[in-house]
Amino acid sequence: MIFAVFLPLLFAIIVPFLSKAKHKIHTGIFVVFIPLAIFLYFIRFIGDDFTPLQQTYNWIPSLGINFDFYLDGLSLLFVLLISGIGTLVVFYSIYYLHVSEKLGHFYVYLLMFMTAMLGVVLSDNVYLLYTFWELTSISSFLLIGFWNHRERSRYGAQKSMLITIFGGLSMLGGLILLSIITETTSIRMMIEQVDTILTSNYLPLILVLILLGAFTKSAQFPFHIWLPDAMEAPTPVSAYLHSATMVKAGIYLIARFSPIFSTYEWFFIIVSIVGIVTMIWASYMAVRQTDLKGILAFSTVSQLGMIMAMLGFGTEAAIFAAVFHILNHATFKGSLFMIAGIIDHETGTRDIRKLGGLLTLMPISATLALFGTFSMAGVPLPFLNGFYSKELFFDATLDLEQSGGSFISFLSEAIPYLAVFASIFTFVYSMYLFFGVFTGPKKLELLPKKPHEAPIGMLLSPIVLVLGVIVIGLFPNLLNGSLLTHAAQAVNQAVELEHVHFWHGFVPALYMSLIVVIIGLILFLTRKKWSNIYHVLPGKFSFNKVYDKGIEKLDTYSTSVTNSYMTGSLKLYMSIILAVILLATFFVMYATDGFVLKTDNLADINLIDLAVVFIMVLAAIATIFVHNKLALIIITGIVGFGISILFVIFRAPDLALTQLVVETISMALFLLAYYHLPELRKIKDTAKTTTLNTILAVGIGTLITMVGIAAHSSNWFATISDYFVETSYKLGGGHNIVNVILVDMRGLDTLFEITVLGIAALAIYGLIKVRKNKEAE
């Protein structure tokens, strides 16, 4: 199984070499065998006696992150969809993409996506699931932006990236919480610990985080906005990623985790409402679109909403209907996207306003589209699979449990009406799609190309998919026992083998279907009359605007925030640093009651000491007020020499000596610079800055004094200097303890202090001598 998952990725390595010869053989011809092989490998598992299969390979065992693959009915359904439609899409792309395109890139991305998607549906390990999940986002990003010279492609790619990665990261949060609570990384182990999870305090948070991941990926309201913009991708990509596989990853996620959450009432409320709202809003918006792929994108969103709602219901009938519809939707939506691509390819436009009357010019495409659209609308004909899933959907809405709080029973009552309402618009846009393109007056003068039927190779993939529509339509129970029931049981174990019938007798679901068809027909025929409603309901408002404004505002606000403090003024940065030090240290001192003052162990005070200190204080304060640079230098010198006198008083002869020498040299240096530096001026500051500077200066000064006193007053342990005193002569052979410490006991300090001086000297030399710009001198 691991080999099947990674086969596309491994093959992607040699694709670039194959694409070198693309003018002789289209690269897709090599690639098409990969998904085919995977499809053939997995189709063996179909059967009534299917038992789940598990395989584990170590990756990071110490963290519980392994390649745990688990193939149950649900995974099998998805794996077959991914590999099967993958084969058809690659085959279709051989005819769709011209050899002048960057085929190497295209197939590498596509194969990357295939591995990612197979990984998502086969992973049993939450972290593995997340890894593949993000890989689908990345490869989808690359595929949407395939024609990266187009502005719209880049916009669409970025938008889908931001939204799906946002969801992916939320999901990661949820998964981490789950794995912490259950102390396992395996999804099946988590399902076994349902009670632990359901009694956890974090349950609402986990649910919201995981649902965010699923809703963004599956383009649920209000995160659906990325999907219509993702239509800038090449049509095979739209057909594959954005109708059949990737957008169902969110559906898969919900289905996979619903054994955990399904008994939690908020799961029912949130998922059902979001699903139904998505379904209604997207089917309503689809009627307004003029781009074929735009209609299909909103239609996909709407159908995903329907599946999502059924997963939210969580009843046996609903789960089976959801699984059934996953399969059906993949067949008819895939074929419709391919036909939209064919129309685009053969006429040069996807604008439905320019198209019309193609029935006689493109009869095969028209026939295929007829089956696709009618199945999507759920027209009651026995050879269209869409009808069965719609019937099952209506059935499911009707037998919702009425138990629970008043809100839940209200919701259960309302859902059937909302479902019918959404289905009416589904009917309208399906009819609009078919009749708008293939019937009516021919508008050949508007078309960039002269339309004609597509080559058979291009038609083959949609033909296979439409055959799927018809076969499932004619024999709706064909896959029930061998595949669909197993899939449904993975979601809800109570599901039993069901038989889908075309004719149930006169049951409510049938009346609902008839209502949909009748009102749908009326609305479709009078479409022009009521289409003004779109000026009222979405009107100027749209979620795209919210998104665009959000991105724009985020950009401007973060720029203005950054600019507000990154002004380029060192003085400001300095003030901020000092203020933070000041506040933080004072806070810590205050919070820990850190200030201590002990006066019992102090040295005595002489008059001379006081005099020196007094002079130094005067000199230090004077530096602020002196505006003559010579005076300033001399006053600073007074402080320095004062220090060396203090060193004498405090019995540090070496220090006094060094300080004296260093101070003298420093004075000389200052005086040297004196000639060259400009005269000091009084630079007038505003009163506010002066006050602020004063506060900071006094604050830091006080802080140092306080910290110093507190440190001095609290004696935690004895000094280690006794050791130096004792061993200075014995071990170091010297009487001057300070010097022994410097060159013997802590000689490394001295070595690097010498290095510092050396570097400083070299730097000074460099600054004076080296001139990059010779002419400046």
């Binding site: 203090l646 500077n693 200075s728 001295t750």
Partner: protein
């Protein structure tokens, strides 16, 4: 005595910070010089003051002042001297090249 020295160090720090927050290069350098003086005094005070003789071994003496802070300060004095001299030359060059010693006028290239 320790408390008086710590207060002196505090005043040195305060005047140093005030000078650092000025705009002229020379004042900023003076600020760093005062800051290192303050720091040296704090280090010295932490090892207690005036306890015993200078740390030079003598058979007649039993108590010495703490030699370790002195060694640390000695290292520090040399390093801060190196830095001060580098800063001086740097500011001299900067003032020459930019024809100004006002920090507020030195902002590099503006972005975008």
């Amino acid at each position: 005595m320790e408390i008086i020295i710590l207060i002196l160090a505090g005043i040195l720090f305060a005047t140093a910070i005030y000078n650092l927050l000025q705009k002229q290069l020379l004042r900023i350098i003076i600020g760093t010089v005062l800051l290192s003086h303050g720091a040296h005094l704090v280090i010295l005070t932490m090892g207690k003051l005036k306890r015993g003789n200078p740390p030079i071994l003598d058979d007649a003496v039993t108590t010495y002042t703490d030699p370790l802070p002195q060694a640390l300060i000695l290292t520090s004095i040399v390093i801060s001297f190196g830095i001060t001299s580098l800063l001086l030359v740097l500011s001299y060059r900067t003032a020459k090249e930019n024809n100004t010693d006002n920090m507020e006028e030195m902002r590099g290239e503006t972005n975008e």
